[in-house]
Symmetry: C2
């Protein structure tokens, strides 16, 4: 596992997003400008609500990937700016709808839009952002990009529905779970990276390489997100701990802990996750079991394997600062758990 | 008002959608086939829920408009089939989200999807249908059509948010109301008609004529819908009466009745629509007041004026069975109130 960062040496340089952020900083400023322009509407509630979500910050990881992928492909133009904005608008639209679906209270450390304004505007402003993203793609004028992002959007929606179906179902397999996160999370990472190669008109092999990088990074990213929901570190990210648990969401740590559980533990998981009969102390018990059964450690190991695949996928590209930043982004996404 | 059908002579031929339906029947069968194919997904809940909404029937008015507009423009190809399916998918997606937003119990005479499956799948399957519509447009390959329908989609979302804002606000003006229905309803009618001319590669003037036909028809259609919510006829359409009233939705009948109300009536409207403090007998009182103040009659008159504009817009096209069917569709949309 060459990609595993040595966790014993905290004093060493920590993996960081900073190289990636520095590399695309100017472009990202332009992306933010496009997003703000596109959120505008005479209906004042729309920019209010949308900017609450967008301006809340977040890492802007997905649009940064589009920008960096275009840079890696030595793209000299400006189309990647608008398309990175599209990617972020699609992502923000899915966040708004997710929070409605999940009844979430917090998003990126702020009260989520559905809590502040109610579910109704969140659904509709999500639709607005989504439509605006397509308008922007149409202005860009590439049917290939439109094809990649419209396909990604319907795969995301399929993944969200699949996730809804696996919720509260402790029979969910590792394969089911991976199919869900591939669709709901990794597909947009993959599309975001791929369109960097598309605007640069690079050969199909490079498009495929960037898509594979994004797909594997996206899977690793979601695996770590799922670990973080049971981690003390989580509070520092502005998210509540135990959201997935309270909703009965079946993530890889749960799949593993359940498959390794004894009869009494299986009863615990069924009661808390299938029947959603939860006592205040149950979350702590869940974390104890997840740790004791090695479920969090195995999930981390799994994330590292996908991270390694993401890095391997960059093989066709020559070494340099952009590639190094993309490699570092993988390490950051994984090691942020600690 | 040459378009007004004589309501005193019920024995005369009633305006009907039948000529339009007969004209596009074969094409519409092909459209339904495309819709069923596009709703398909390995995630079984998606086609289940989507087909509940789509197969529930409805008039398929919007895709029929695309088909008829293409026919009016003597379009010889097949592209109008897929694009009519896109229009219906976008419409169905907005219906799913509307029902979540409105907490509706009935849709096209059946329990609405949010009642059967809950709000969550309705939001996500709406997203799926919307994305699939864009995938289908991308396959069609026309950036002009993509531009028209992505623009229409964001205008619809804006209109829905505006409607949310005017809800419970008895200060809403006639102009505010018209802006809302233009966006949330008429824009898609306009786009549906326009793309018939686009695929046929007709001159801009004919595109604009069909767009104006659709826009004015859409406004008339929504005005009549708003009358029907206070009409005994409504039950026969498989919708409940008084939905708008119970939600405090401010439609033109209400705007007019409020502007013509005496002090005591204003108190009634404020209590029932702003504060949503409603007693069982209030709906009947509302209908009595709407009738006594001539609000329903004025709204019908307004619908007829937009209907006349829709028919006038068809002026550039020579007479013939397609034009006659489109004219009849206007009369039908208006006179269905009786």
């Amino acid at each position: 596992m060459g990609v595993a960062v040595n966790l014993d040496t905290d004093a060493q340089r920590k993996p960081s997003l900073d190289p990636l952020i520095a590399l695309v900083a100017d472009d990202l400023k332009a992306v933010n400008q496009v997003i703000v322009e596109r959120m505008d509407s005479p209906v004042a509630l729309i920019p209010q609500l949308a900017s609450h979500v967008v301006a809340a910050g977040g890492k802007r990881l997905r649009p940064m990937l589009t920008l960096a992928a275009a840079r890696l492909c030595a793209y000299p133009g400006r189309r990647h700016i608008g398309l990175a904005a599209c990617v972020e608008c699609i992502h923000t639209a899915t966040l708004l709808h997710d929070d409605v679906v999940d009844d979430s209270d917090l998003r990126r450390g702020l009260a989520s839009a559905n809590v502040v304004w109610g579910n109704k505007p969140s659904v509709l402003v999500g639709d607005f952002l989504f439509s605006r993203a397509f308008e922007l793609m149409v202005e860009d004028g590439s049917l290939r990009v439109l094809g990649i992002l419209s396909r990604a959007s319907s795969v995301i929606a399929e993944g969200e529905v699949s996730q809804l179906i696996t919720t509260n179902d402790t029979q969910t397999s590792e394969a089911d779970y991976l199919a869900v996160i591939r669709a709901k999370t990794a597909e947009l990472f993959a599309a975001a990276c791929r369109i960097g190669a598309v605007v640069a008109e690079r050969p199909e092999a490079e498009e495929a390489a960037l898509e594979a990088y994004g797909m594997n990074l996206g899977i690793a990213f979601q695996l770590i997100d799922d670990i973080l929901d049971y981690s003390a570190k989580q509070a520092t990210l502005g998210k509540t701990v135990g959201d997935d648990f309270r909703e009965g969401k079946i993530t890889l740590p749960i799949v593993l802990a359940f498959s390794r559980a004894n009869a009494e533990e299986k009863l615990f998981w069924r009661r808390t996750l299938e029947e959603l009969e939860q006592e205040p102390e149950d979350l702590e018990r869940a974390i104890t079991l997840l740790t004791a059964r090695g479920a969090l450690a195995t999930t981390l190991e799994c994330a590292r394997q996908y991270g390694a695949k993401a890095i391997d996928a960059l093989e066709p590209f020559p070494p340099g600062p952009v590639k190094a930043a993309l490699v570092d982004a993988v390490h950051f996404c994984i090691e942020r758990a600690y």
